[in-house]
Amino acid sequence: MSNAVSTARRTAAPAKTGGGHSGQRNAGLAWLTLPALFFFLVFAVVPLAGVLILSFSSWDGIGAIGAAGMSNWFSVLADPGLYNALGLTFLIMIASWLVQTPISLLLGVFTAGSQRYRAALAVLYFLPLLLSSAAVAIAFKALLDPNFGLATGLGLPFLAQDWLGVPHLALGLVVFVIAWQFVPFHTLIYQGGVRQIPKSLYEAAEIDGAGTIKQFFHITLPQLKYTIITSSTLMVVGSLTYFDLIFVLTGGGPGNSTRILALDMYLRGFRANLMGPASVIAVILVLIGLALALFLQRLGGKDKQGSQLEGM
């Protein structure tokens, strides 16, 4: 969102101040932003305003909407369920980042090589990305069924845990399945990043006597700085909206052990018919998402405009 706003500002600014030929051209094209602006208004601003209004009203989703003042906010902020959901959301966010980043980085470097067997493996790694979250969740649920699942079918007793029935196992499993689904996507990002690193850097390093590991830490990793930031932003902000996979896999259970914020919002709104409190959580989610996106943009550093390929 903040991206759209800042680009709009950037394009609008020269149109106002700049005179002469180039300024006129920009002014003539300013209406080009209209379709984008239209979509942004209809699909982002209007629903957001609606949710904000709903968070101050009481509504069961069926009858009439009544004003509730601050009572939804007070009741949600006093509810330990909110802090449990918040904690779980951040826990899954951090765990997902820690699991997915190294794996997809290494896989990305591996698949960036030009050998044919690597290309074949890259296609295989890519497969989970083609499945919908619901399908992934249903498949894992069936595989991990404690009585009729993979462990019983193959006779592997160490796999025969109650994966989705014990709170900490269920949480770990959710992180694993999310990683299984999204590592291919981030691998793809890293693969593209690695392929853009000029070969001459490696050739120079080889002449200087640097081995593969040294090359990785001193060339590949620094060169991938912005790729890492992009991939991390997608992971972190994306983890706020994990919903479908967890909803199908555990439904927030056992107990409340995988009830993350997005799921908590849904269950309050659509199961318990409490649209007001659900909207409060939606507003909180938006605020957290904005704060995280801004923070990660700052992380890009001051030399944002600087090129990594200076002098090449």
Partner: protein, 442 residues
């Protein structure tokens, strides 16, 4: 210079057209399956799963071929998914003409919001139809003295099922008291068989245990007080004792390993019973028909046993008391057009619970909520079970409607969430009672 200009122009045309294209696409999207269907037809949402789905489809097909002008379009959904979807659709004004449900608290929220039609006068005009059904089935269809739904299908008491083969092998009898339950738990665990099957992730399955235990311990009055929203009704000592009994059973490994990750919609809980991995299962009588269909002759070979829920020493409840669904219900959306409503009413009168449908239900092991079916039940191959269920539903001193349907949706969701935690032992029975007490009147 010319080259980029033309491409820019075509891009602009595309950009200008995109929103309109998208708008038409969304416009198509909003007129969902729920609303208008051409030709005076009504729409209906119903539960998927056998044998119900086939029975309903046959009933609708028969009705439509007899009344070509009154079409009924049925869409089928899974149980748990349906419960959420129907609420959202009604709130959005996209409900089907015929709203299927379980009456009680959910129906009350629909009725109070003016989303379903009052059928009282229509029933007065059709006294024969009203007399056709068990009188008790109208209780959960009535809100503030007015009837908002047509009772239909069958009574669904919750029954204690058991695997006769495993009981013979162990040389034991079905439990009569809570002490029997606890000793059977030990017997079957020693045999390497899970004592009870349970689809705990669905949560309403675990709830059935509390419904029976609370009745056996404190009698039906305890839940009646909760239902009426009386102050501190959940803090009754019987509630705490019920919770303690549940945790006693969980601690003794009474339920199959992994019960909290099994869903009822997958029917894995039933499969555990008929494949001999679990010895007993507390479940709705509708699973009889499903096990008959899926159980590879388990039911037909007489291996499925059924019994009353055991008593609890010192408890107040009558051992003949039952819990479950007194019937299923169908209401008419107040947002439907007049022709759609007429079609729906005609279907209610002529299409549902016809002789053929009644026979189909009986053949699948269910007791339809129709008076005067005793002879039919007695000549059925499933007469033992049918008479048992009929007795449990009709002659019970008290028949408590399922809690999650009787209570308001807000209280029901809190209840299911707390039951889940109670079974996981992440809250104590006392905390359960206190958490639930906070939902009174919501």
């Amino acid at each position: 210079m010319k080259q980029p200009q033309t491409s820019r122009r075509s891009f602009l045309a595309l950009a200008a057209l995109t929103p309109f294209a998208a708008m038409t696409a969304t416009a198509c999207g909003t007129s969902g399956p729920g609303t208008s269907s051409a030709g005076g037809g009504a729409s209906m949402w119903y539960l998927s799963g056998e044998p119900n789905e086939t029975t309903m489809q046959k009933a609708v097909d028969t009705f439509t071929s007899a009344n070509p002008d009154n079409k009924i379009e049925v869409t089928y959904f899974q149980n748990d998914a349906y419960k959420t979807k129907i609420k959202t659709a009604i709130g959005a004004g996209q409900a089907p003409t015929i709203i299927y449900g379980w009456g009680g608290g959910t129906l009350k929220t629909y009725a109070e919001a003016g989303q379903v039609d009052d059928l009282t006068s229509w029933f007065d005009e059709n006294p024969d139809l009203k007399k056709k059904f068990f009188p008790a089935s109208f209780g959960a269809a009535t809100v503030n003295g007015k009837i908002y739904a047509l009772p239909n299908q069958y009574v669904a008491p919750i029954v204690l099922f058991y695997n006769k083969e495993l009981f013979e092998k162990a040389g034991v009898q079905p439990p009569k008291t809570w002490d029997d339950v606890m000793s059977l738990v030990k017997t079957f665990n020693d045999m390497g068989v899970a004592p009870f099957s349970l689809g705990g992730q669905s949560r309403w399955t675990s709830m059935m245990w509390l419904e029976y235990l609370l009745d056996r311990i404190g009698g039906p009055a305890v839940f009646t007080a909760i239902f009426e929203g009386k102050a501190n009704a959940w803090l009754d000592p019987a509630v705490v004792e019920t919770g303690a009994k549940i945790q006693e059973l969980v601690s003794a490994e009474g339920f199959i390993k992994g019960f909290s990750s099994i869903t009822a919609d997958s029917n894995a809980d039933q499969a555990l019973l008929f494949t001999g991995k679990a010895a007993m299962m507390l479940h709705g009588s509708w699973t009889y028909g499903a096990m008959k269909k899926n159980g590879q002759n388990f039911v037909q070979d007489g291996k499925l046993g059924f019994a009353q829920f055991p008593t609890v020493p010192g408890g107040k409840g009558d051992p003949k008391n039952g819990v479950g669904n007194p019937a299923q219900y169908m209401s008419i959306s107040s947002k439907a057009t007049d022709t759609e409503k007429e079609t729906a009413k005609k279907f209610f009168k002529e299409g549902i619970l016809t002789e053929t449908v009644i026979d189909t239900y009986i053949n699948s092991g269910s007791v339809p909520i129709v008076n005067g079916i005793e002879d039919k039940l007695n000549t059925s191959p499933d007469k033992d079970f049918l008479n048992f269920a009929y007795d449990l539903a009709k002659n019970a001193p008290s028949f408590q409607q399922s809690w999650d349907q009787a209570l308001s949706p807000t209280a029901a969701e809190a209840l299911l969430n707390n039951i889940d935690q109670l079974f996981l032992k992440s809250i104590t029975p006392q905390q359960f009672a206190e958490n639930m007490n906070g939902t009174l009147g919501k």
